[in-house]
C-alpha cells in the first residue's frame, strides 16, 4: 500500500515533467509535422541555465547553504524560460526556416544537427588565445536548493515533499496556461489555423512565419520550465551531451505519441501515463529496465492505435 502510493506520487510528479516537454514536441509537430529532435537539448539547456542563473544569485549547493526567499526561485524560472525562448527562436530562424520547402527528411537531419550542436557547445570549456572560457563545462554539477527541503505530508511511510508539490503545481499551472493560450486567445486561434492548413491560414491574413516562431518560443519556454523543475527535483545535472537528457526527451516524445501527437490534451495525458508506467515498472518489475517499459509501450501503441489515445486517425490526401 505504501509502495503503491509512493509510486503513484512519484509517477505523477515525473509524469507532469514529461507532459511539459511533450507539449513542446506536440506543438511543433502539430504545426510543422516534424519531430524537433533538438527539443530535448532545449530542455537540458533550461536545466543548465537555471543552474547558471542560480549561481549568479550567489547560491551554491551544499549542506550549509541556506535557501533563498521564494521570489529568487521564481526569477530563476522566468530568466531560464526567457533564455530558452530566445534560443528556440534562433534555432527556428537559422536552422529550420531555410528548409521550409525542403523534404521532411532534410529537416529531420538538420534537427539532429542542431541537437548535437547544442549538446557539444554546452560542454565546451577550454582556452582560447590565453583566455579561459566555459559554457557549462564537461562535468556534472549539483543544483543549489531554491526551496527548503521539507516534508509536507506524512501518510504512513509515504512522504510528500515540498519539491514534489512545487513541481506538480508549476507544471499544472503551465498546462492550464497553455490550454488557455491555445484555445482562448487570438494567438492560439492563429496557431490552430496554421496547424490546420498553412496556405488557408495565410489567406486569412495570418502571418504564418510569425506563428511558427511563436510556437517554437512557446515550446522552448515550456521545456525550460521542465528543465528548471527537473533540476529542482533531482539536484544533479549531468553534462549536456549526456544520454540522460536525450532519453528524457525521447520519453516525453513517446508521451506525445501515446497521447496523440499534435493533440495538446493528449500530450498532458500521455506524459502522466508514461510517468506512471515507468515508475510502476521500476517499483514492481525491475529497475534495471526502466527505459524498456516506455519504449515497449510505444511499440504497442504504434501497433494497436498509431494515432494515440486522443488523436484522430488522418488520411493523407494527394
Amino acid at each position: 500500500m505504501t509502495q503503491l502510493i509512493q509510486t503513484l506520487t512519484d509517477g505523477i510528479a515525473v509524469g507532469s515533467l514529461y507532459a511539459l516537454i511533450a507539449l513542446g514536441y506536440t506543438l511543433v509537430y502539430g504545426i510543422l509535422q516534424f519531430i524537433n529532435f533538438a527539443h530535448s537539448d532545449v530542455f537540458a539547456l533550461g536545466a543548465w541555465l537555471s543552474f547558471t542563473i542560480a549561481t549568479w544569485f550567489g547560491l551554491a549547493a551544499g549542506s550549509g547553504a541556506t535557501t533563498p526567499p521564494w521570489y529568487i526561485g521564481l526569477a530563476v524560472l522566468a530568466l531560464a524560460m526567457i533564455g530558452c525562448g530566445i534560443v528556440g527562436f534562433l534555432i527556428e530562424r537559422l536552422a529550420y526556416k531555410p528548409l521550409r520547402a525542403a523534404p521532411r527528411l532534410n529537416v529531420l537531419i538538420t534537427a539532429i544537427g542542431v541537437s548535437l550542436l547544442l549538446e557539444n557547445v554546452g560542454q565546451l570549456e577550454g582556452m582560447f588565445r590565453g583566455h579561459h572560457f566555459k559554457i557549462f563545462g564537461p562535468y556534472p554539477k549539483a543544483m543549489p536548493a531554491l526551496i527548503p527541503d521539507r516534508v509536507l505530508l506524512h501518510f504512513a511511510a509515504v512522504q510528500f515533499r515540498l519539491v514534489d508539490a512545487v513541481v506538480l503545481g508549476t507544471a499544472l499551472f503551465l498546462m492550464v496556461a497553455i490550454q488557455w493560450l491555445v484555445f482562448r486567445t487570438r494567438l492560439g486561434m492563429a496557431m490552430r489555423a496554421v496547424s490546420f492548413n498553412h496556405n488557408s491560414a495565410a489567406l486569412m491574413g495570418i502571418n504564418v512565419s510569425r506563428i511558427i516562431s511563436a510556437t517554437f518560443v512557446l515550446g522552448s519556454m515550456l521545456a525550460a520550465a521542465a528543465g528548471f523543475l527537473y533540476a529542482m527535483k533531482y539536484a544533479q545535472l549531468k553534462q549536456t551531451a549526456d544520454n540522460v537528457w536525450v532519453l528524457l526527451g525521447l520519453k516525453a516524445f513517446v508521451a506525445a505519441v501515446v497521447g496523440g501527437i499534435g493533440n495538446i490534451r493528449g500530450a498532458m495525458l500521455g506524459g502522466i501515463f508514461i510517468g506512471l508506467i515507468e515508475f510502476f515498472g521500476v517499483a514492481y518489475l525491475s529497475d534495471k529496465y526502466r527505459d524498456v517499459y516506455v519504449f515497449s509501450l510505444l511499440i504497442i501503441v504504434l501497433l494497436v492505435r498509431p494515432s494515440g489515445i486522443l488523436g484522430k486517425a488522418t488520411v493523407e490526401k494527394v
Binding site: Q33, F34, I35, F37, A95, P98, L99, A102, P103, R104, L105, N106, V107, L108, I109, T110, I112, G113, V114, S115, L116, L117, E119, N120, V121, L124, G126, A241, N243, V246, L247, L250, F253, V254, V257, K288, Y289, R290, D291, V292, V294, F295, L298, I299, L302, L303, P306, E316, V318
Partner: protein, 390 residues
C-alpha cells in the same frame, strides 16, 4: 518477339501482363554476382598480402576501420538513402551483431579448442611488425565467418521486429523507435552477467551455448575475443556490401525503394507494397550492420555496448548524409574521409562533434542532397552523353 519482350521489360509493364519467363530465375544472382565478387576477393587479397605490410600497424588499423565504416554507411544508405526512411539506431544493430559474433567465437573457441586464442591460418604470417596481419583461412576462420553471418542474422531479426510496427506508419516514427531501440539494446547488453574466463573452462564446456549468451560482461564490456577480423575478411564483406547495394539500386526492387522515397502515395498508387518494401530494406540494412558489428568486435578483440550509443549512430548517419542520400559510392567515400579525418584533426578533437553538427546543418541548407545526391561517382563522367532509350 524477343524485342517486344525486351521493350516490355524496359517499360516495366504491370505485373498481370508480364509473363513469368521475363523474370530472371531466383538463382540468377549467382553468375551476376560472381564476377564482381571475384574482383572483390582479389582486391581484398591484394590489400591483405601487399598493401597491409606496406602501411604498418597504424595504417592497417585505419584501413580496417575504414572498411567497417564503409559497410555501416552503405547499409544505412539502403534505408536512409534509397528508401527515405529515417533510422538512427544503427549502432544498436551493430552492437547486437557484435555481441552475438563475439560470444559465438569466444565461447565457441573454448568449447572447441579449450582456449580463446587464434586457431588455424593456412597462410598465416605473423611476420616482423608484431603480427598485425593475423592468420587467415584456418579452422578458426570458419568459426569466425559463421559467427559474422550469425551476428548479421540476429541483427536482421531485430530489424524485422523493430521495423514491422514502425514502418507501417508514414512519418518519422522509425526515427524514434530506432533511437529508443538503440538505447534498449545498450541497457540490456550492459545488464548481462559476468563473462566467463579461462579458469571457468569446465563450466563453459558444460553450459549450453544459448545459456552462455547471457554472460556478456555487462557494463565492463566483452573482452579477450580472438581477433580474427583481418583486412581480407573485412574487405571481402565490403565487396559483398557494395555489390548488394549497387545491384539493389539498379534493380526493379531498388527503383521501388526509390519511388517510396520520392512519394509514398504515388508509389502505392503504382502498386508498390510500401510496408513490405520498407521492412525488407530495413532488415537487409540491419543484417549488414550486424555483420559490421561482428567485424568490429573481432577486430579490436573487445566490444562494449556503452561505446555503441547515439553518438556512433550519428557518426554513421553523418557519413550517409555527407556522401549523398542514396549514393553508394558517396557513402563509401564519406566513410573513408570521416575515418581518416579525426586522425588528421587530432588537435581539434574537442570540437569534432561541433564541426560534425555544423557540417550537417550547413550541408542540409546549402546542398541538401549531399555530395553526390543519388548519383554515383561513375555517373558524374557519363552525364554529358546520356544513353539512348528510356
Amino acid at each position: 518477339m524477343a524485342e517486344t519482350a525486351m521493350l516490355r521489360k524496359r517499360m516495366s509493364v504491370s505485373a498481370s501482363e508480364s509473363p513469368e519467363e521475363l523474370r530472371p530465375p531466383a538463382w540468377s544472382f549467382v553468375p551476376r554476382a560472381f564476377a564482381p565478387l571475384l574482383v572483390g576477393t582479389v582486391v581484398a587479397g591484394i590489400l591483405y598480402f601487399f598493401v597491409q605490410p606496406a602501411i604498418g600497424g597504424f595504417g592497417s588499423n585505419l584501413l580496417l576501420f575504414a572498411g567497417i565504416n564503409i559497410i555501416l554507411a552503405v547499409s544505412l544508405t539502403i534505408v536512409n538513402g534509397f528508401t527515405g526512411q529515417f533510422s538512427i539506431g544503427h549502432a544498436g544493430f551493430m552492437a547486437l551483431g557484435g555481441y552475438t559474433a563475439a560470444a559465438i567465437v569466444y565461447y565457441g573457441s573454448f568449447k572447441i579448442y579449450g582456449d580463446a586464442s587464434f586457431h588455424g591460418g593456412l597462410v598465416s604470417w605473423t611476420g616482423r611488425a608484431g603480427g598485425f596481419r593475423g592468420p587467415l583461412l584456418g579452422s578458426g576462420d570458419l568459426l569466425f565467418v559463421g559467427a559474422t553471418v550469425a551476428g548479421g542474422i540476429v541483427a536482421a531479426a531485430a530489424g524485422w521486429l523493430v521495423g514491422l510496427p514502425s514502418l507501417r506508419l508514414r512519418g518519422d516514427y522509425l526515427a524514434i523507435v530506432t533511437l529508443g531501440f538503440g538505447e534498449i539494446v545498450r541497457v540490456v547488453l550492459q545488464g548481462t552477467d559476468e563473462q566467463l574466463r579461462r579458469y571457468d573452462l569446465e563450466l563453459i564446456r558444460s553450459t549450453p551455448m544459448l545459456k552462455l549468451m547471457n554472460k556478456l560482461g555487462g557494463a565492463l564490456g566483452f573482452i579477450g575475443i580472438p581477433a580474427y577480423s583481418t583486412v581480407f575478411w573485412v574487405y571481402l564483406w565490403v565487396a559483398i556490401m557494395l555489390i548488394v547495394a549497387v545491384r539493389l539500386k539498379h534493380s526493379s526492387y531498388g527503383r521501388a525503394l526509390l519511388s517510396i522515397r520520392e512519394d509514398e502515395i504515388a508509389a502505392q498508387a503504382v502498386g508498390v507494397n510500401i510496408t513490405r518494401y520498407k521492412v525488407r530494406a530495413f532488415v537487409l540494412s540491419s543484417f549488414f550492420a550486424g555483420v559490421a558489428g561482428a567485424l568490429y568486435a573481432l577486430q579490436i578483440g573487445s566490444i562494449n555496448a556503452g561505446e555503441l550509443g547515439f553518438q556512433r549512430s550519428f557518426e554513421i548517419l553523418i557519413m550517409v548524409v555527407l556522401g549523398g542520400l542514396g549514393s553508394v559510392s558517396g557513402a563509401t567515400l564519406a566513410a573513408i574521409i570521416l575515418t581518416a579525418l579525426p586522425e588528421v584533426l587530432r588537435f581539434v578533437d574537442q570540437y569534432r562533434m561541433i564541426v560534425y553538427s555544423l557540417l550537417l546543418i550547413i550541408m542540409m541548407i546549402v546542398r541538401p542532397q549531399g555530395l553526390f545526391g543519388v548519383r554515383e561517382a561513375w555517373d558524374l563522367f557519363r552525364r554529358r552523353r546520356p544513353r539512348g532509350g528510356a
